[in-house]
Symmetry: C2
């Protein structure tokens, strides 16, 4: 049996309450007693029993708020699902989760939601922040009130958030480069289509991809990066032009959305399955493309985890006082073919 508070209390000749206060620095304990208790706990190898802690703390009803942007996109839908799933699990632990979703990326709307949640008296906040100074300001204000803030999917690194949960885009880009190098000939041509040139995540994925590819396969010719603004119609046209100009195109790296336009153009040209396509995220439509063989490999950002993890981190902090080890909590980079979905 593991060591308990009670045992320590008996050995130290004090009450359990005192031990609890001493070990958790809750004050109201004389330094000498605190020191003695801590020493005994150390010697006995005491670890608080998480189940007991959880049960005791379940008394106070805690509330966590979560705000999700662009919730209608396929990927963010999965993020929301992950959040809902976590919310159900947390409910059984007595933690209430309030979800607010918005269709667009709108700092004003987001501010309104932030105010609403704060008024509801949340004990923690998870958010996909708009890249805007007023949001950053607001998050700092919230953090300063002692309410932990976790950003996810998108980050605001200069804010006083507790941590960020999301993908390491640079690493994802390099991973894509490694795969592309494995799949196309050493003198092949590879095109890159991205979403927005000034989106931080998209840019990171593209530059890392290009740099790494140049480094490991200098013979491969990389065509200029082209943005499709996350639109399939635009990506479709871009791909048509690419195929016309470069009939020997060997691979396409789609760093953001637009992959379906790319696939459509490839099919029309009868080049699907020939041109290697690397795209992002396991969404229902992407799964179809994978099954058809038009997309070769998907890099997944484990969207579900991006929805659930922030809530769990907040719960751990609020309920158990556990602070995340790093301020960046990168979710895995998972590779999917049609065979290991």
């Amino acid at each position: 049996m593991a060591v308990t508070l009670k045992q320590i209390a008996e050995i130290a000749g004090v009450s359990r309450g005192t031990v609890d206060r001493a070990l958790h620095d809750r004050g109201r304990v004389s330094p000498e007693v605190a020191e003695r208790v801590r020493r005994i706990a150390e010697e006995l190898g005491y670890h608080p029993n998480a189940v007991g802690q959880a049960l005791a703390r379940s008394r106070k009803q805690i509330k966590i708020g979560i705000i999700v942007q662009s919730a209608e996109t396929p990927t963010m839908k999965i993020v929301v699902e992950g959040a809902e799933q976590a919310a159900r699990a947390l409910q059984k632990e007595g933690v209430e989760v309030v979800i607010r979703t918005m269709e667009s990326v709108d700092a004003i709307q987001e501010m309104l939601y932030l105010d609403e949640l704060m008024e509801m008296g949340i004990h923690g906040l998870a958010i996909t922040p708009a890249d805007d100074a007023i949001i950053c300001e607001k998050l700092n204000e919230i953090a300063d009130q002692g309410i932990p803030v976790v950003t996810f999917n998108a980050d605001l690194p200069q804010s006083r958030r507790m941590c960020f949960v999301g993908q390491d885009n640079a690493r994802a880009g390099r991973t894509a480069a490694g795969l592309m190098a494995l799949m196309v000939a050493q003198d092949g041509k590879v095109a890159t289509i991205t979403g927005h040139l000034r989106n931080d995540g998209h840019r990171m994925r593209c530059t890392s991809f290009s740099e790494e590819l140049r480094c490991i396969a200098p013979g491969i010719m990389t065509l200029p990066i082209q943005p499709c603004f996350d639109r399939d119609d635009c990506a479709y046209e871009l791909t048509q032009h690419l195929l016309a100009e470069h009939p020997d195109l060997a691979g396409i790296y789609v760093a953001a959305n637009g992959q379906h336009g790319v696939c459509e153009a490839l099919r029309e040209a009868g080049r699907d399955g020939k041109v290697r396509v690397i795209a992002y995220d396991v969404t229902p439509q992407n799964i179809d493309e994978l099954r058809q063989g038009t997309i070769s490999i998907l890099i997944d950002q484990t969207a579900r985890e991006q929805g659930s993890r922030p809530l769990m981190l907040l719960r751990d902090f609020i309920l158990y006082g556990r602070r995340p080890e790093h301020s960046f909590c990168y979710t895995g980079i998972t590779l999917k073919t049609r065979y290991n979905l």
Copy 2:
């Protein structure tokens, strides 16, 4: 706040003990009362609070035994690590885990350990079973005493084990085929090196690989499957011969151990990085090969999970009465390149 036993008891006008007995079919409750209680619980959407359950049950000290074969191999070492990690976590919940490892695959030794563990009074058993009738017999005997048995890494499907935790080798083989088809030209030559021809897992990985490859890339020429008995020296020679006979060899699928012999031969012939190599499991040495670029892609069977998951499943069953949904619990098929380790 979620519905509690107490609330149901109040509404039903009975005690908490009675509600508990009624809802969990522990007997000693009149049918009418039981029925009424169940109805109320149903209406209120009652879900037992897992934290409360765990705390209450933590009173009885439970013990789980785990037996690991071939524990010295790189992969099984990771499995053992996973088990040890889980054991530490379980210890904090008051669950004791007894680990027994053996170097070889030895049914007699395994029997001895089984007897030892049974005498220690274990409440659950996890085991990598030797493929032997007496082990099967013994496991059935244990299962019939009401002690749940989980096989992992290797299975004994005809036994009355509760479930198996491990990789879906057929799927892994198909995944490898899909990747190989993406990496080598449509008229390339691919070789398969396996461990033992009569090892169930190895065979499954190979046949699925060949079948799938023939199906999706009929132009690819597959050379006959050759066993290396999991030995690097043997695999080294096989590879040398392969390279001599087929200077244009495009890919090698290594379905079991021996990959380092393969890599060595490739390096000597200056074909490393040219010939695509798919191998199994994220072990330290494999990571090196991946980094060097000699192995192209690793298929991981998430060995760590194979060590921890069985213990968690047993804990869930013993402590919470949760039975696994399926009798096969496949761990993921994870793809690793040097970039997403």
